[in-house]
């Protein structure tokens, strides 16, 4: 067995260190967050008070609904609120 093959394998394993755990978890949570956001924005269309709260303080209202207000989710929520107004 060539030593160089073994060294190369070690080098290639090292080439893919883990991504930060929090980043991975946030990406894995996407489907749940998107469904939560769909539900919230859907309800806000027929609930003026909820809509007003979302417009006034988006981050807190999302958090209260169990949706972590990441940059992506906030941008998505703002776009959907705009398009539904």
């Amino acid at each position: 067995m060539a030593t160089s093959d073994i060294e190369e394998l070690g080098r290639l394993i090292a080439a893919l260190p883990p991504a930060p755990e929090g980043w991975v978890r946030a990406a894995q949570e996407l489907p749940r967050l998107r469904r939560g956001l769909d539900d919230l924005i859907g309800r806000a269309q027929s609930d003026a008070e909820l809509r007003a709260r979302l417009v006034a303080d988006l981050e807190s209202t999302l958090s209260e609904a169990g949706i972590e207000p990441t940059r992506q989710i906030l941008a998505d929520a703002r776009a959907r609120l705009r398009s539904s107004s």
Binding site: M1, A2, D5, I6, L9, G10, R11, L12, I13, A14, A15, L16, P17, P18, A19, P20, W23, V24, A26, A27, Q28, L30, P31, R32, R34, T70, R71, Q72, D76
Partner: protein, 184 residues
Amino acid sequence: MGDEPTDAALVARCRAGDDAAWAALVDRFARYVYAICTQGFRLPQHDAEDVFQDVFAKAYEQLSKLRDDAAVRPWLAQLTRRQCIDRFRETRRETPAEELEPDGVDDVLDQLDEALAVRQGLARIGEPCGEMLDRFFARDQSYRTIGEELDLPAGTIASRISRCLEKLRAAMEDSGALVGPEVG
């Protein structure tokens, strides 16, 4: 082969709304996307985080547009590449588009493709070898830490790593993923 689903099978399950499959898909490609951002495009950590999240958000939204489920890896690579260039474009407006990619990015991406094939090999050789090699090479853990974490005598870790590398090499050869230079 191990019990790992193929890329195509995972994508099909994601498209059917299977959250566990999505989590597995993210887990499978997180290191790859991260490495393209930080090694290929040398993004600082805060930019890399934004790109990383944008890539998976776009992948989630656009998965239905993927024509070949088995081609998810190159598709994600392309998505990541575009997002990295967009990030550069935001901060370097005066730079011509063709100069936004760092020198050697294609070579780095080729290496990362190889590295991903090796990770699939790690999954095939099973535990504790896969985890031991990952901890030593990718997580840069000491023999002592690996020994403590895996409940193994620290003095045996070096020889175990060596045996695991041999096992990995054999698995890669069996799968045709490792081709000796004399074969080319």
